[in-house]
Amino acid sequence: MDEPQIYVRLAEIFQDVFDEDSIEVTPELSAKDIDGWDSLTHIRLILTIEKAFKIKFSTSEIGKMENVGDLVALIKVRG
């Protein structure tokens, strides 16, 4: 999958997990930008992304992610 396709898919996932159609996914997007993006929603988000892209992140990778850009970089490597 190329980067634009990844962002399109991620937008769908974010909108689904946060139940918010207006979310725009940019590389800088992070937890402070969305209401309700707490540690547990983060887990739910990561799990949904893993299933959608059929990949698994390691614990330390999840721990190191700071924003969507980091996430996308990992998806590109894994996917």
Partner: protein, 649 residues
């Protein structure tokens, strides 16, 4: 390796509708109580995100949350406190949404993380003050005061008693402070073993300690008024290695894999519903391709598959065996079949391999009417609500009809392969029970299983609308080489919807195909569930000048009730007009197996022209002015020679 999807994806439930999210958004704008719509939405195979959305929508509309809250009737309210040593935040919305599926408006009391003993034992704790109806002790093995006592039977036994003592103390706290029912979970042991097989056998290993705890817990709960939730059993069913997700425990203290939250939540919901007496009580069985392989009306007693040693037959016997065992524990059995009553009863009365007998069946509905109307009649006959019924049918069209017209009836999705029918029904857990008494053994008999027939009081409305939603396409073609084998099969196999029961061999069919004086039709029907293939065959011969005699008209019973025969007549008439035919004549020859079509021509608007002593009736229809009703299907007519070509032949 995916987790067994039957369990992980709750495959007995239909997929969520495409407008699922949209329907959630407009919930607040619906008039009246919201319980039915909530239960309808919940009664799909929902993943964690979908369950979470549903719970959020319920949260927005429920009356206790805000002043303009709406009634959740007829969902029954239930307040459940959840005590756990693990993180339950992800699971709580799933519990609320899954409870709606089982007719319960669940409110969850969720104290702070890992405060199990504090909440149970402190009189004015959040949990105890909230006066819950039940407290779910969602503990996993990590919460238990256990350590290894390898090979030391005495110490192991004491350790097990210690665990039971701890659980008892929690129970006593809850009982004296909140007087709530306690739902105890059994414990799924960790996957890792120290020895291998010896972990099971040697006292004092974690596995044998947990085995013992589970056994003692079951004894302790039995007959106490409290309830056991066999999480160990669920974990075993999907596989311990899939149940446990160590990475998720490390990251977020989730007790088990997030992928199994929908399954776990459904089990909790079933348990709560059972406490409230909302488990289902009746299993209504379809017959053809459910209780036996094949179609009794066409295959006859010798042709249906039930025999031991026959792979297909074994699958259907398993359904019978499960039905009988359910009956033994108090579930009432009924039958809803599209067959004549006499033909449907034959295997019960005469087939040596049938496990089910007529006196196991409380109500036996076999007729040609739609199944929704019949199930309604069964419910009235048993004086039970539709929400007590489970309906098992291999035909997705029938399942869709009953779900649409009688949404309170549980209709499990079934896989194509019959070998999994029994397992799928069991997996759905419609008959969950939290107690078992001697009276339960007698309950089925109380309904006097004399296979009685319920009178159909009134038709259930909406069948036509449902049929229109099937997006049917009917395809008409003349006989050709491609269709010949199936045409010959239908001609020789059809017994019930067969007007004249003329049997033709392959060469005779080929002759008809090539004879310009003979008009032939092979009819196919497809719908939203798939292609039914060829389902009707017609042969018209030029009898006198410009008159067609309908030599053969047969149809598969699988497509009864969909007005196919009206569309077939319309097609015949179109070609008749083009060929200058002014009259159609047909006959009904009774054979003892085709009583079903005695009024076929009458219904299609033919006039009766005569009858002889054998019961054979003759019918006529003038082509000019004949206007049979149409059905909502797309018509494809192809492969026919044009009238011009035909008249030159």
């Amino acid at each position: 390796m995916p987790i067994n999807p039957l369990y992980a994806e709750l495959q007995w439930l239909p997929h969520a509708p495409k407008d699922y999210s949209a329907r959630l958004k407009v919930l607040a704008h619906l008039s009246g109580p919201l319980g039915r719509e909530l239960q309808a939405l919940a009664s799909h195979a929902l993943d964690l995100n979908q369950l979470t959305k549903l719970a959020k929508a319920i949260g927005k509309v429920r009356p206790d949350a805000n002043s303009d809250g709406r009634s959740l009737d007829p969902l029954v309210p239930f307040r459940l406190a959840v005590l756990s040593n693990s993180t339950i935040d992800l699971m709580v919305p799933a519990l609320v949404a899954s409870s709606a599926r089982h007719g319960i408006a669940l409110e969850v009391i969720q104290p702070s993380y890992d405060q199990v003993a504090q909440e149970a034992l402190t009189p004015d704790s959040q949990v105890n003050s909230s006066k819950p109806d039940a407290v779910l002790l969602a503990l996993d093995y990590r919460a238990l005061p256990l350590k290894l006592y390898l090979g030391d039977a005495e110490a192991s036994s004491a350790a097990v008693q210690g665990v039971i003592g701890y659980l008892q103390a929690l129970r006593n706290g809850i009982k004296s402070n909140a007087n709530a029912v306690c739902i105890f979970q059994t414990f799924a042991p960790p996957v890792e073993t120290l020895f291998g097989s010896l972990d099971r056998a040697l006292p004092g290993t974690l596995r044998s300690l947990i085995d013992a705890v589970n056994r003692e817990l079951a004894k302790f709960v039995s007959g106490s008024g409290d309830v056991l939730l066999d999480v160990a059993g669920v974990a075993e069913t999907v596989g311990l290695a899939d149940w446990h997700n160590t990475q998720l425990w490390n990251m977020a203290k989730l007790s088990f894999s997030d992928e199994l939250i929908p399954l776990y939540a459904d089990h909790v919901a079933r348990t709560v519903a059972a406490i409230r007496g909302k488990s289902r009580k009746v299993l209504i069985l379809d017959l053809d391709n459910m209780v036996w392989g094949g179609v009794i009306g066409d295959d006859g007693l010798g042709g249906i598959q039930i025999a031991q040693g026959d792979a297909r037959g074994e699958a259907h016997l398993a359904v019978q065996r499960l039905a009988l065992d359910l009956r033994q524990r108090g579930i009432v059995l009924a039958v809803s079949s599209k067959n004549s009553d006499e033909v449907a009863r034959q295997p019960f009365e005469k087939h040596p391999e049938m496990l089910l007998k007529l006196d196991h069946i409380a109500v036996f509905q076999a007729n040609w009417n739609d199944k929704a109307t019949n199930i309604q009649a069964i419910a009235e006959e048993l004086s039970l609500g539709l929400d007590a019924m489970v309906f098992l049918d291999d035909n997705p069209v029938e399942r869709g009809l009953v779900r649409k017209l009688l949404p309170q009836v549980a209709v499990p999705e079934l896989p194509e392969e019959p070998a999994w029918y029994a397992r799928t029904l069991a997996a759905a857990g419609y008959f969950e029970a939290v107690a078992f008494a001697a009276e339960d053994l007698q309950r089925a008999g109380f309904y006097q299983d004399n296979a009685r027939r319920a009178n159909l009081q009134k038709q259930v409305g909406g069948v036509d609308v449902y049929l229109a939603s099937l997006e049917m396409t009917i395809t008409f073609q003349p006989f050709d080489a491609t269709g010949r084998a199936r045409i010959v099969q239908l001609i020789n196999k059809s017994n019930q919807y067969n007007l004249t029961t003329r049997r033709y061999t392959d060469p005779a069919v080929t002759d008809a195909e090539n004879d310009p004086e003979v008009f032939t039709l092979q009819v196919r029907l497809a719908d939203i569930f798939g292609d039914n293939g060829m389902i009707s065959v017609v042969i018209c011969r030029t009898a006198e000048v410009e008159v067609w005699e309908i030599d053969t008209w047969l149809m598969s019973c699988r497509v009864l009730g969909r007005k196919v025969e009206y569309m077939v007549l319309r097609e015949i008439l179109e070609h008749a007009r083009a060929a200058g035919i002014w009259k159609l004549v047909g006959s009904y020859r009774p054979t003892g197996r085709n009583q079903l079509v005695v009024d076929h021509y009458a219904r299609l608007g033919f006039t009766k022209a005569g009858e002889d002593e054998s019961g054979l009736t003759r019918w006529e229809l003038l082509v000019a002015g004949a206007a049979p009703e149409s059905a909502p299907m797309k018509v494809v007519s192809q492969g026919f020679a044009t009238a011009k070509e035909r008249s030159h032949a």
